[in-house]
């Protein structure tokens, strides 16, 4: 795990764990090499950084940065209701994008907005009790994973929460609704269990909640036994990935919070959501502190409006409720841009396609070509991102500031 001499310490921006214990070896013009980890997700993301940087473009034709910024500003300033979506950027980018949303009255939504809203809507209705990576590492005797092994999307998860370390000599890792992760087999002090769903995940979690509250319900023995083990443990951590939850997933989050609430009446437990990918939770936090309201809000004619359901990218585009799209995807790992005829400005990282109609502004990636900050999955720890090479591209913040100045000039 010790970095080689030519490698530099690196903070990986490509998954919400923000691993900062590995290193990156920059290679001239080539794909930077990850040192100290076999993380498939990081390697896949890094593989996009081999090609030469893209250039600004208008309607698919190469253009100067100034001309592209002018065209993008005209497009956004002329729109009646723009949508800022994707929002794949870091805190610096978000700080600069917010004034642009104010100047244009844009609605803001992240590419993983649906997953973000599962947690946020549950929070708004009932609250939450969460824990963090180091707490789980030092305390959790039982770790319960709902809806699948988190290692599939976050290959370093077990190391990050210390599974197999002897800080907690005996740990049980429980998989609800999926087989036990084979990677845990043989780790010292670790036992694994798999519990099948009873009905769907909604039903299963509701039953678990009832059992932890010691209500009289007819629950399968495995669920009742899990509730007992949770109640007997000194500290339990409940892990789930918002991105894996089905529609109305907020109800599952709410029920998981209830499990934690019941447990905390007699012992200790916390929820650890694993999400906020591609900067979405960082942008959400930043917009929240600046404006008071989270994503899926806009500074509209009536005032600051937050609409966690109505301000959703796909349906806004499908209904024709927006007449311009600013798509921000500076990591390159974001999902593909939704297909739309709406005039589009793309601020994109490596591998992000320029729109056939509209403006393309290439941006550097925080943590590769630019410095920056992101929040880790627990929402508490914000880490600095190091730049590992100079690609000469502006950051999202630079572009957003330039656009804001131009939009203001056009509107004055």
């Amino acid at each position: 795990m010790t970095p080689t001499s030519s490698a530099t310490p690196w903070t990986c921006p490509f998954c919400p764990l923000l691993c900062d214990g590995f290193a990156l070896e920059a290679r001239d013009g080539g794909v930077p090499a990850l040192v100290g980890s076999d993380c498939t997700r990081a390697r896949a993301a890094l593989a996009r950084f081999g090609a030469a940087a893209a250039t600004p473009a208008i309607d698919g034709q190469a253009a100067s940065l100034d001309a592209a910024l002018d065209a993008a500003a005209r497009l956004l300033a002329g729109a009646r209701q723009p949508l800022f979506a994707g929002l794949g950027t870091d805190i610096d980018g978000a700080r600069a994008l917010y004034p642009l949303t104010c100047a244009t009255g844009a609605i803001s939504d992240a590419a993983s907005g649906e997953a973000l809203m599962h947690g946020l809507r549950a929070l708004q209705d009932r609250g939450q009790f969460t824990t963090t990576l180091a707490e789980v590492r030092n305390r959790a005797e039982i770790v319960v994973c709902f809806g699948g092994s988190p290692r599939e999307a976050m290959p370093e998860i077990w190391r990050r929460i210390g599974i197999g370390e002897l800080l907690v000599p005996q740990r049980e890792v429980v998989f609800v609704g999926s087989p036990a992760d084979a990677a845990l087999a043989g780790l010292p002090g670790v036992t694994t269990t798999s519990i099948p769903l009873e009905g769907d995940l909604f039903d299963t979690v509701a039953l678990l909640s009832a059992c932890t509250a010691q209500r009289r319900v007819h629950a399968p023995a495995a669920i009742a036994a899990l509730a007992e083990r949770l109640r007997a443990a000194r500290y339990a951590a409940l892990l789930f990935e918002p991105a894996r939850l089905p529609a109305q997933g907020m109800l599952i989050v709410e029920a998981l919070n209830q499990v934690v609430t019941h447990l905390n009446r007699s012992t200790r437990a916390g929820l650890l959501p694993l999400g906020g990918v591609d900067g979405s939770s960082s942008v959400n936090q930043t917009f929240t502190w600046l404006s008071g309201l989270p994503l899926r809000s806009r500074a509209g004619p009536l005032g600051l409006e937050h609409e966690p359901l109505r301000h959703e990218t796909t349906s806004l585009l499908a209904r024709g409720d927006v007449d311009a799209l600013l798509w921000v995807a500076s990591f390159g790992s974001e999902p593909a841009r939704p297909a739309t005829d709406v005039p589009t400005v793309v601020i994109g990282g490596p591998g992000v396609a320029a729109p056939a109609k509209g403006v393309f502004l290439p941006a550097t990636t925080p943590g590769i070509g630019g410095i920056g900050h992101l929040f880790r999955t627990d929402g508490v720890v914000a880490l600095p991102l190091e730049a590992v090479r100079d690609d000469g591209l502006p950051g999202v913040a630079d572009l957003a500031k330039a656009l804001t100045a131009r939009v203001k000039a056009l509107k004055s």
Binding site: T130, R268, W289, A382
Partner: protein, 560 residues
């Protein structure tokens, strides 16, 4: 930068013992002598106005994780009944809303409109320090700083439990202040946040932490001593044991005793001054507290006054917030165990005039303001937003300065609570000079900010010019002019400029040998690389939105 003369105002400057009509000169952001005949860029006729240094809020939850969680928890706080909050009409303001936890932008605007020019976040977690600095950096106009939380981090408790040399622990405290770029240190429910992670539900001052077997008494004493030896100007900021619990005056007095004469600041003391008398076993202990404070010159305090209405309590005290969660309105709350470092609890509250407990809390707060003799040791706070949002300060000032208004308000309260309080018999009305002490001169002195909180030559030109009004609430709501470092930032309640504020912090000297321990601890227990434990100057500057870095000087001690 052009020069400015403020002519003929009543200058109230307790630091220099001034309460007189005179002129004030400003050049290049500083207070200067300007000859009466000298031409100036601008002259303001302040006849009929009171001129003070800008207000300083030494304890206001303006930035960081729990504040942002409170915003997310309460989208209803960011609406006006069912409607969205209208956009600002002032082109200098960006859209930002919220009543008890406004967005950072609105926080800066609203503070500045009231004549405040600095606010300090009292509960910054080392694990969340970057975030806290970012939010403060995005709070326009105000200078800011934060107190880092210690005394619930497992490493400190372990060092104390293992009986490590005091110097070693002192160096760790110095390292933490430097790493997080803090202006001071706060301890919250000493040991209690950690104890709650081990499922302990109560921790008295002389009770042992169930795992580490150390007492809050030892934690408080060690931290207070460390800060004195490090020469940190702001003494230990203490949120004591048993917040909100009937009878907690015993814990508060025991905490004062634990200090053994070491300087300390007891924060939101209203929440820690409860007795157990009367039919409901809940009573005011303001007199006992005031006697102790009057007798112990090492103690300063801020009040944490409650005012009626909806607010939200945001605290690091997971243990007590968990216990209070079922009392919240609306019934939802947030808690967290955080990084072997600290915790947080966010519980919405609606303080009601007809509630016996809430009415008594209101009475106790005002009693404390009026019963402690030395205004230099009493700071005006509502513990924003925990007792009430900071926007209630003008109302609170009127309550303190106007006995008949106070009596009027008291008549609206739960009569059983009023009957148990001595507030009605307290005749004291605070003077403008005393208000100036409690809202700027005192806090500046307690924080070690030599060039703030007064209007002497050389001071920063942070100035508020209030038009005299017998109704002190009106007077303190929207001053005629507010200057920040010589720049006019508000005029009669309208923002006129939005400069980025500066960051106050201290850089105590400590033995760098401690870094080895921290590196080892990070590898063995934490979830961040050691290189990320420390915020450097460049990074602080980026977090704080490019605002000035304002390191405060430590005082000379035998140790450094």
């Amino acid at each position: 930068m052009s020069s400015l003369r403020i002519r003929n105002g009543r200058v109230v400057d307790p630091v220099h013992g001034t309460d007189a009509v005179r002129d004030l000169g400003i050049r290049d952001g500083r207070i200067v002598e300007i000859h009466p005949q000298e031409a100036v860029g601008e002259e303001i006729d302040a006849t009929g106005c009171v001129v003070m240094a800008g207000g300083i809020d030494l304890h206001s939850h303006i930035g960081g994780g729990k504040v942002n969680l409170a915003r997310m928890l309460l989208p209803e706080d960011h609406r006006l009944n069912r409607d969205p909050i209208a956009l600002p009409t002032n082109p200098l303001e960006l859209a930002s809303c919220g009543h008890c936890t406004p967005g950072t932008l609105a926080t800066g605007y609203r503070y500045a409109e009231m004549g405040y020019t600095a606010a300090f976040e009292p509960a910054m977690l080392a694990a969340n320090a970057r975030h806290a600095h970012m939010e403060m950096g995005d709070t326009p106009i105000l200078d800011h700083g934060a107190y880092v939380m210690l005394g619930n981090d497992e490493l400190f408790l372990q060092l104390l439990a293992e009986g490590k040399d005091f110097q070693f622990i002192r160096d760790y405290v110095g390292w933490t202040i430097n790493a997080s770029k803090a202006l001071g240190v706060k301890v919250v429910n000493p040991g209690g946040i950690s104890a709650f992670k081990f499922n302990q539900r109560k921790l008295d001052v002389d009770e042992e932490h169930v795992h580490w077997r150390v007492t809050p008494r030892a934690i408080v004493h060690t931290l207070a001593k460390a800060l004195r030896e490090l020469g940190v100007p702001h003494p230990l900021h203490i949120h004591g044991s048993n917040l909100g619990v009937a009878g907690n005056i015993e814990s508060t007095l025991a905490t004062i005793d634990a200090l053994d004469g070491l300087p300390a600041h007891l924060t939101h003391i209203q929440f820690h001054a409860y007795g157990t008398e009367g039919p409901k076993k809940f009573s005011s202990a303001a007199r006992q507290l005031a006697e102790a404070v009057n007798a112990n010159p090492n103690i300063s305090l801020d009040v944490g006054q409650i005012l009626f209405g909806q607010t939200v309590t945001a605290s690091g005290d997971t243990m007590r917030q968990h216990a209070n969660a079922d009392l919240g309105t609306p019934r939802k709350w947030i808690g967290a165990d955080i990084e072997c470092d600290a915790g947080c609890g966010v519980v919405p509250f609606k303080y009601r005039e007809q509630s016996f407990v809430n009415a008594l809390q209101w009475l106790i707060g005002l009693e404390i303001f009026l019963l402690v003799d030395d205004p230099w040791r009493v700071v005006m706070t509502t513990d924003h937003p925990n007792g009430a949002p900071f926007t209630t300060y003008p109302h609170l000032i009127r309550l303190l300065m106007d006995k008949s208004f106070r009596d009027e308000q008291m008549a609206k309260l739960n009569p059983d609570a009023v009957a148990m309080s001595s507030l009605g018999s307290i005749k004291r009305e605070l003077s403008l000079n005393e208000i100036a002490i409690m809202t700027r001169a005192g806090p500046a002195r307690l924080l070690g900010l030599a060039d703030r909180g007064h209007v002497g030559v050389g001071a920063a030109a942070d100035i508020a010019i209030y038009r005299e009004d017998a109704n002190r609430e009106t007077m303190f709501t929207a001053p005629d002019h507010v200057f920040k470092d010589g720049v006019r930032v508000a005029r009669q309640g309208v923002i006129t400029a939005t400069p980025t504020g500066g960051t106050h912090f201290v850089e105590p000297v400590y033995d760098k040998g401690i870094e080895k321990l921290l590196e080892k601890y990070a590898h063995e227990h934490l979830a961040v690389a050691p290189r990320h434990l420390v915020i450097g100057h460049d990074e602080l500057c980026r977090c704080c939105n490019g605002g000035k870095l304002l390191p405060a000087a430590c005082f000379e001690t035998a140790a450094n």
